[in-house]
Amino acid sequence: MKHPHLYKKIVASLCLGLACHASFAADSALDLSVPAASASPKSFMLASNDSGVPAANVAPAAAAEFSEPWMSGDKLHQYMGWTTLALVAATALSAPGEGCEGAACANAPVQPRQTNGAHAKFAKAAAFMAAATVTSGLIDHWDDFHVEDGFTDPDNLHAMLGTAGALMMMYAVNKSANSTVPVSHAGIAELGGVAMAVAIKLTW
């Protein structure tokens, strides 16, 4: 196997594609045919207190027996977000020592740099999962983002913080992976993890 990483990337891409497809499947099952009478912009929105139904006199129809689908785009996005946080925690817990700063480095023993240990693997998995989570969110919840709702809208904040968190994690992984000497990357990675956690809390 001449290029083992190439195969890994292909498999990862396929997994991401499958995940995105799963989150999109619900939409493809929807019957989007619109009767001619309801094709105009106004007609679908019967905001129907005005539709001639005297709301106060009509007993609400009882919802039929119904069980939620075991998997959906929304659920997939949720599970991926939790998995990202779990991987972030595993990355933090598996981090090697604190390193050294300033004058203390002069006396510090030179350690061989590990770039393929548990910490690096967890970090790469966390960054990948964060990117996949953002992707699935953009696909499944695209209609929930509206600029007109402003900066304080919880869905807009969720999207911005989640995306920023994923980017910070990827930056931290890239910074460390492409360096021949130990570099400070924990702060930005931790900030990314916190941004992800806050993003989840905002819409939990």
Binding site: A56, P60, F66, E190, T203
Partner: protein, 182 residues
């Protein structure tokens, strides 16, 4: 450098938490709670549930801002409540109004209620809210108005199977006569 980034991360987190804590009385409850607050707080007041639920679905109070509830729930307005007389005695009305305004959209930490509060609208009808219109705008008339088991967008619980629990997620939608919607 490592410590510097950690300090920045911790300060940013602390700043965010402090800012949230100053935003309202229930912020700490929201922040420390693991309870899902994605939708609306379900109706918890028996009087509100009984008085409103006698004629229609007892809508979670977070579906409207308090200014809307005040316009709706007063003796004059209830004499003609969307075409019906929904009068109630003064004590009951006060209790219902208190519950509705104390749990109105702008006083709730539930996500969908916050979205409604952010819209700065105070309509009389829930269906006039921009957010409610937007999330239903792609549903054709045949599924609501022309659906004999729904008839109106105001019949939340006809399709939202967990509306009574305040849950309006798309996964819980079951449009009568259109089983494949989801």
């Amino acid at each position: 450098m490592l410590k510097k980034f950690k300090i920045i991360a911790l300060l940013s987190s602390a700043l965010f938490l402090a800012n949230s804590a100053l935003a309202g009385e229930t912020t700490a409850d929201w922040l420390l709670s693991f309870e899902r607050m994605k939708n609306f707080k379900p109706v918890t007041d028996k009087t509100y549930a009984k008085e409103c639920g006698e004629c229609h679905f007892a809508y979670p109070a977070g579906l409207l801002p308090s200014a809307s509830w005040e316009k709706l729930l007063n003796a004059t307005a209830l004499k003609n409540h969307f075409g019906d007389n929904a009068e109630m005695d003064a004590a009951t009305l006060e209790r219902v109004l208190d519950y509705a305004t104390n749990n109105a959209a702008e006083k709730s930490w539930y996500k969908r209620a916050r979205k409604i509060a952010n819209s700065d609208q105070t309509p009389l009808r829930i269906t006039e809210l921009r957010y409610i219109k937007r999330v239903h705008e792609e549903i054709p008339a045949k599924m609501i108005k022309d659906n004999k088991d729904v008839k109106s967008l105001s019949m939340c619980n006809a399709c939202h199977t967990q509306a009574a629990k305040g849950v309006f997620d798309s996964d819980t939608v079951n449009i009568p006569n259109f089983p494949d919607y989801n």
